[in-house]
Amino acid sequence: MKNDVRNFRPLSRTASRDKTLREILKKACIHFKTSRDNTYGRLPDLDERRRRAAAVRLGALNDLASLLEQLEENVVLSGGRVHWAQDASQARNIIGGIAEKHAVRRIVKGKSIMTEEIGLNEFLEERGIHVRETDLGEYIVQLRGEGPSHIIAPCVHVSKQQVADLFAKELGETAEEAEELTLIARKKLREEFLSADMGITGVNLAVAESGTAVLLENEGNIRMSTTCPRVHVAVMSLEKVVRNFEDAAALLNILPRSATGQKLSGYVSFFTGPKKPGENDGPEEFHLVILDNGRSEIMQDEELRKILCCIRCGACLNVCPVYQSIGGHAYGWVYSGPMGNALVPQLCGDEGMELPFACTTCGACKEACPVNIDHPKLILKLRQEAARKGHKAAPPALFAWGYALAGKSPLLWNAAMGTLRTLDPNFKVVGKLPPLRRWGEKRVLPGLQKPLSRRLKNAGKEKKNA
C-alpha cells in the first residue's frame, strides 16, 4: 500500500495488526514518558512556563507578517540570503537552484521535517545529487528506504536487531550493541560530512531581532552539516519565527524537556549569517528558505491556526493511544498523532480528512502539550468541516438528521427504542450490520433492558400497593 494520507484506513488497519511494531512503540513511548516526567514533570513552575511559551507562540502568529519582514532584513544584514517559497514545488526549485549554482554533487542533511514535507530528497536525487541524512535515526530510515515515523524519533519503529541486520546488508559491517552500531554509522557519516558541498537543515525557531536560525540536536551532526560544507541551506515554515531572544529562551526552556526529557539538548546552535571575514568556521554562504505551503491559508481561521503554535516536541505522539497502536507510517505522511490529526487536513484538505476521526478524544495530547494546544478541540472543529462537506470520513447527514429528529421528540425516541426492544432486544439482527458487526467480534453486544423509567414506575406502584 502506497504511503499516502489518502490511504490512512488500509495503512492503519495493517499497522494495527502488527504486534511487533506495537511492542516496540509501547516500550519507546513509556521510555519517553518516564524521561519527560522526570524533568518536564518536575518543574515547579511548569504551568507558568507553559503559559509563557504559549503566549510567545500566539504572539508570533498575531504579528507574523512584520516578524518575518524583520527576520528577512536581519538575515540579509548578517550576510545571508532569504528565499520565499509559496509551495513545495517552489521550495524544491529554489534549493535545487542553489545546488546547481554551486555545482553541488553531495549533500548532507540534518533532521528536517520541512524537507520531508516538500519531498526534497527525491527531487535532488533525481537530479543526480547524492543526498545523505546524518541524524542517526534519519540515516537508518533512509537506508531502509522509508521516511521518519515520528517527528523527533524518526526510527522509533525499528528495533536494535533490525538496525544490526540493516547495517550488515547495507554497510557490510554490523555489531550487537547500540553503541557499536552508532560507531559504525559515525565512521560512515564522517566521510559524508567531509566530502559534502552543501548542508541542508531545518530550523527549530528563527529569531527576528537578529536574523538567527536556532537548531537543537544531540548528535553533533547538525554542527557538522553546517560547518563542513561550503553552503548551508536552512528550511523553515513561516510560523517558526519568534520576536527576540527572550522569547526564544521561553521556548528553549521547555522544548527539550518536553521532547526528550533533557534540560537542554546536547547541542544548541545559533546561526546568524555565513562565516564572517577572519572567522575560521561556518559556511561561505547561508540561505534561509521560508516556506508557506498552505500556512497563510491556515492563519485565516482564528481557532484552527493554533496548531501552528506547535513546537514539534513530539510529546503528543508519545501519549496518544492511537499513535501507539499504529505508529507514524500508518498516517501516510510526515505528520502523525494528535498534531498530525489537526495539521494534515489543513495542509492537504479533503485528502487528509480521515485523520481527525482517528482519535478517541481522550485529551492526553492536550494535557501533554507544552504550548497548551487543545488538540481535541481542533480535531472536533475539523470533524465539523468534514460533516459539513459530506466527506466520507464523517457519518452521513442522513444519520445525523434521523438521530436529531428522534432526539428532539421523546415520543419518537421512545417509540424507536421500544420497537427495537420488541423486535431485536439482543441485537441478533442489528448486530450483524456493518457498524456493530465488527464491534461484536471482540465484545459481547449489550442488550436492551427494561428501561430505567419503567422500572422506577413499577417500583413506585409496588410501594403504593404495599
Binding site: R9, S12, R13, S16, R17, V319, P321, V322, S325, I326, F357, A358, C359, T360, T361, C362, G363, A364, K366, E367, L380, L382, R383, Q384, E385, A387, R388, A394, P395, A397, A400, Y403, A404, A406, G407, K408, S409, P410, W413, M417, R421, P435, L436, R438, W439, E441, K442, R443, V444, L445, P446, G447, L448, Q449, K450, P451, L452, S453, R455, L456
Partner: protein, 242 residues
C-alpha cells in the same frame, strides 16, 4: 434538597441498574432525586462526529428540560462534559447561549457532585472486593475529576484499591472510533484489559458509562470473571451489612 437526575441514554436503555444505584446513592447522601420526563440523548454522538447543527437541536431539548433545576447530576463523565460544551454550540445565539451557560454551570458528574457539592465522602457502602479504578478520559481529563472518585472509594468497607498499570491510557471506546477504526479500538481495549488482569483485581470501577460498556463487552466475550461496575453501584452496595 432536590437534585435533578440526568439519565444518559445508555443508562436508560442498556444499563438501568446504574441509574437505580445513582438514585440510592443520592438518597443516602441526603438528596431527593428528581427525574424529569422526556429525556432522550444529550447529543454527544452528533457533536463528536462533527454534526454540530444537529447536536444543537438536542441541546435545546435538554436545556428546556433542565434549566429550572437547582442542580443536575449524571452518572456519566462524557455526557456531563457534553452539557458543559453546550454554550459553544450557541456562539451566534446570545439568548440560547445564556440559557446553555446556566445549565452548563450546574451540571455535575456523580462523584464530583457527592464530594464537592454534597460534601459527602463516606456513603456507608460495603463491598468485599479487590478493585482497580479506571480513570476515564472524559472524567479525569475532560472534567478534571480525578481525586473525587478515589476519595469515595477509599471509604468503601471491604474494598481494596489496587494500582493499575498505565492507568492514564484510554480504553479505546472513543465513540464512533470503535466503529470506524475497530482494529485500533480493539488494540487499546485488549491493552487495557491486560493491565486490569495483571493488577489482580476482581472488579474494575469507572465513573463513565461508555468505558464500562466497552470493558464489560470484552470481559464477557473472553469469559473473564472481572466485574465492571459503575462507581454508583459500588457506593450503593451494602453487601456485607445485609
Amino acid at each position: 434538597m432536590q437534585a435533578f437526575l440526568f439519565v444518559p441514554c445508555l443508562v436508560e436503555d442498556f444499563m438501568p441498574e446504574i441509574g437505580e444505584a445513582t438514585i440510592t446513592v443520592l438518597r443516602r447522601a441526603g438528596w431527593s432525586p428528581v427525574i424529569p420526563k422526556g429525556q432522550t440523548c444529550c447529543g454527544q454522538p452528533l457533536y463528536k462526529t462533527g454534526h454540530t447543527d444537529k447536536a444543537r437541536d438536542l441541546a435545546r431539548h435538554f436545556i428546556e428540560l433542565f434549566e429550572d433545576a437547582p442542580v443536575v447530576v449524571s452518572p456519566s463523565g462524557s455526557c456531563v462534559s457534553m452539557v458543559r460544551h453546550y454554550p459553544e454550540l450557541f456562539a451566534n445565539e446570545p439568548e440560547w447561549r445564556a440559557r446553555a451557560e446556566k445549565v452548563a454551570g450546574k451540571v455535575y458528574e456523580l462523584s464530583q457532585f457527592l464530594v464537592d457539592v454534597a460534601r459527602v465522602t463516606d456513603l456507608k457502602a460495603t463491598l468485599d472486593t479487590r478493585a482497580v479504578y479506571h480513570d476515564s478520559c472524559q472524567v479525569g481529563r475532560a472534567l478534571g475529576v480525578k481525586t473525587q472518585p478515589l476519595a469515595l472509594l477509599e471509604n468503601v468497607r471491604g474494598l481494596t484499591l489496587l494500582p493499575l498499570e498505565r492507568a492514564e491510557m484510554c480504553c479505546g471506546f472513543g465513540g464512533a472510533l470503535s466503529m470506524q477504526h475497530p482494529d485500533i479500538s480493539d488494540n487499546l481495549l485488549s491493552e487495557k484489559a491486560t493491565a486490569i488482569f495483571k493488577s489482580g483485581a476482581d472488579t474494575v470501577v469507572s465513573a463513565e458509562v461508555s468505558c464500562l460498556l466497552n470493558l464489560k463487552g470484552y470481559m464477557g466475550k473472553k469469559h473473564h470473571r472481572v466485574q465492571c461496575l459503575h462507581i454508583a453501584q459500588v457506593l450503593a452496595s451494602q453487601e456485607a451489612a445485609e
